[in-house]
């Protein structure tokens, strides 16, 4: 029997995986992908709670998150393309312009 806990554990694992990707990878595209992973982990727990509580609201939130994620990816990839054109790299450590 697959219970709520299974979903939540999976969600937590996915979230942690995404977070580790964001923290430690240097490629901007990979970081964006890891972000997607984190969002989808959250979506998973939303859906699981929705099913578990018999409430439709969690699923509505998931739809919102997907919309925002799509927009974020569009903007993020556009930035990545622009950065690459400008500086010839998408290594995150090389574009630390906003520092002291």
């Amino acid at each position: 029997m697959v219970t709520l806990e299974h979903y939540l554990v999976l969600s937590a694992l996915l979230f942690s995986l995404g977070m580790v990707g964001v923290m430690f990878r240097r490629n901007l595209i990979v970081i964006l992908m890891s972000l997607e992973l984190m969002l989808n982990a959250v979506n998973l727990s939303f859906v699981a709670f929705s099913r578990y509580l018999g409430s439709i609201e969690g699923q509505i939130f998931v739809l919102f998150v997907m919309v925002v994620a799509a927009a974020e990816v569009a903007v993020g990839l556009a930035i990545a393309v622009a950065v690459f054109r400008q500086r010839g790299t998408i290594n995150i450590n090389d574009i630390s312009l906003l520092k002291w």
Binding site: M19, S96, L97
Partner: protein
């Protein structure tokens, strides 16, 4: 016509506005005649008001005309109002009449100067303020004019502002005048606290009730007012600005620093005659300061070689005479001398300006001499002015000065001696200037000599008008003959209350002895002629005498020639200490404390910022980590609470 008194100051104001705002496109001629015409219009109105006053009964010749309620706040109600009475109309006529003549003269004198329009707008603004000063019906409006003439004086002294000495002289005049104004202001405040009004008529009517005869309060008020008068009218100790004021164009010296503005103090003291009469101490102070100034300035005048400076010291000295007259209670005589002095001193200055014009700007009398033939009109008019100021019968100065000496003698022998000695010196230094300038051998430098030319009619005609006035101006106040003192009779309603107070205190009515008066007149005339003869001996008959005398008394001469080192003394005592104190405040307080506080705040903020900015690494992972840590802290708090 009296209703239209407000027109008198308005005309010059309009002239100022037209020339000041639109004059850029006008030709010199237009600007000059707008300037002169506006003052002339005021003079015409003034004369018609004067004629109307003459037709009224003497007791009723005091009319107030309120035009506009200017300040209306609680207890303080100050209108823009005018007071027409014999005193103000005499002043208005002198200011606008002499002013108009000097404006016309200026058209010729200032021809071709760079700031021609600026000059005429300032001059008109000056006349406007001066007319406000003398025609106002309350102290506050008078103060407006008082400050206004000070401003115009500053602007016109500094007319040649590229010259350092001229702009310094302007500043000096302004600052010294401010010191006097401070006293005047305090006096005004006291008047307001005591009377609750600034209106002359109300104040002077209430003065005998509100103030005690000879009391401390009235003495304090009058002394403070007199401090203002010493500033504006260049009396000891605030006279030092006037000689330097000669840096301005000569017609300015004639109008502002001889004929009109500097007499404002005499006018003000006469206006407040009731209060001064109630304070015998103040009157004595006025008389002593006046007498000392007359004497002191005359001694300096003797030694100067700059023709305008001689005239400047002579102005200070003559103002001293006027104050002495006021101080001995003869206010109408003071005003009489004010009027005749306006004629002959404006004349002398403008004639000196004409000499300067001919001499390509040379002012040193040692480089003149023998100009009589080249400048016949200037010579004759200057001579007329000199005869008038020296007090030779029948010129104007004879009558007024004789009257002052007469009243001075009645009061106290000391005043008479001071006045008489000053009169000898006046006659001496004036004839000295005549002889050095117009007579004897020419000492003119050759390259100046062949430029020598008489001034154009625009300049000589005003000189002749004033020379005529200097000749006949005294006949409005002939002494001895009963009823011929028209001038003082005309003014008597204004000064009657003061006179009554003084005579009440003195207990003896002025015994009028015709013989004494005639003897005194003879003595005055003898004094004037003595001065003339000494000057003639020293500068015509044996020109080497002055040099010998200077050698004999070289120490004394150096002292007097350097004006008793009063300027240096003031610099040492006041100016330097104030400058030092200001420098201290600048360096120690302004820069260290004020700037230090502002810069200190900035420095603290910058230090914090330089530490905090280390957090901004620019690396995305650091920001992500901080988000993570923050989220964990929040979650941990929620779990553990």
């Amino acid at each position: 016509m009296i209703e239209l008194v407000w027109l008198i100051p308005i005309f010059p104001l309009i002239g100022f506005l037209i020339n000041g705002l639109f004059g850029r496109r006008f030709s010199e001629k237009t600007i000059g005649w707008i300037g002169a015409g506006s003052v002339g219009a005021s003079f015409v109105v003034a004369v018609s008001i004067f004629l109307e006053l003459l037709n009224m009964a003497p007791g009723t010749r005091s009319i107030q005309k309120i035009v506009y309620s200017w300040i209306w706040s609680g207890d303080l109600n100050v209108p823009i109002g005018f007071l027409v009475d014999p005193l103000s109309i005499v002043m208005i006529m002198v200011v606008s009449g002499v002013g108009c003549i000097i404006h016309i003269y200026s058209i010729g004198y200032m021809h071709g100067e760079i700031g021609f329009r600026r000059y005429f707008s300032y001059l008109n603004l000056f006349v406007f303020n001066m007319l406000i000063l003398v025609s106002a019906n309350n102290f506050l409006l008078m103060f407006v004019g008082w400050e206004g003439v000070g401003l115009c004086s500053y602007l016109l002294i500094g007319y040649y502002y590229e010259k350092k000495s001229a702009s310094d002289a302007g500043k000096k005049a302004f600052v010294v005048n401010r010191i006097g104004d401070f006293g005047f202001l305090l006096g005004m405040f006291l008047i307001f606290t005591v009377f609750g009004t600034f209106n002359y008529v109300d104040v002077f009517a209430a003065a005998p009730e509100r103030l005690t005869q000879g009391g401390n309060l009235v003495t304090l008020i009058t002394l403070l007012l007199f401090v203002g008068a010493t500033g504006k009218s260049a009396q000891i100790p605030l006279y030092t600005w006037l000689p330097d004021a000669m840096e301005g164009p000569t017609p300015v010296s004639a109008l502002i620093h001889a004929a009109t503005m500097v007499t404002a103090g005499v006018y003000m003291v006469s206006r407040c005659s009731v209060m001064f009469a109630m304070a015998p101490v103040s009157l004595t102070v006025v008389a002593i300061i006046g007498g000392l100034t007359a004497l002191f300035a005359a001694t300096i005048g003797i030694t100067q070689f700059d023709i305008k400076r001689v005239l400047a010291y002579s102005t200070i000295s003559q103002l001293g005479f006027m104050f002495m007259a006021c101080g001995v209670g003869a206010f109408s005589t003071g005003i009489f001398h004010l009027m005749t002095h306006a004629f002959f001193k404006a004349l002398l200055f403008m004639a000196a300006g004409s000499v300067m014009h001919a001499m390509s700007g040379e002012l040193d009398m040692r480089k003149m001499g023998g100009l009589r033939k080249k400048l016949p009109y200037t010579h004759w008019t200057y001579l007329f002015g000199t005869l008038a100021i020296a007090g030779i019968f029948p010129f104007a100065g004879f009558f007024s000065k004789d009257e002052i000496l007469y009243y001075a003698l009645q009061k106290n022998m000391v005043f008479w001696i001071m006045g008489a000695v000053a009169a000898v010196m006046t006659s001496f230094y004036m004839f000295r200037s005549v002889f050095m300038t117009f007579y004897g051998k020419s000492r003119v430098e050759p390259d100046v000599a062949h430029h020598l030319h008489e001034s154009p009619p625009l300049m000589t005609v005003p000189l002749m008008i004033l020379a005529f006035l200097s000749l006949v101006g005294g006949f409005v106040g002939i002494p001895v003959i009963e009823g011929a003192q028209r001038f003082s009779n005309f003014l008597s309603p204004v000064f009657a209350p003061a006179k009554a107070i003084i005579e009440h205190g003195a207990h003896h009515a002025g015994h009028h002895s015709v013989t004494a008066e005639l003897v005194l007149m003879g003595v005055s005339l003898a004094i004037a002629i003595l001065g003339l003869l000494v000057a003639r001996y020293m500068y015509i008959t044996s020109p080497e005498t002055p040099g010998r005398i200077v050698e004999r008394f070289s120490g004394l001469h150096r002292l007097v020639f350097n004006k008793y080192w009063i300027d240096e003394l003031y610099d040492f005592l006041f100016v330097n200490s104030i400058v030092e104190f200001s420098r201290f405040l600048w360096k120690k307080f302004d820069e260290a404390v004020v700037d230090g506080a502002v810069n200190g705040v900035a420095a603290v903020v910058r230090t914090f910022g330089s530490v905090l900015r280390l957090l901004q690494t620019g690396l995305v992972k650091d920001y992500a980590l901080s988000v993570l840590v923050g989220a964990m802290v929040v979650i941990g708090y929620l779990l553990l609470r």
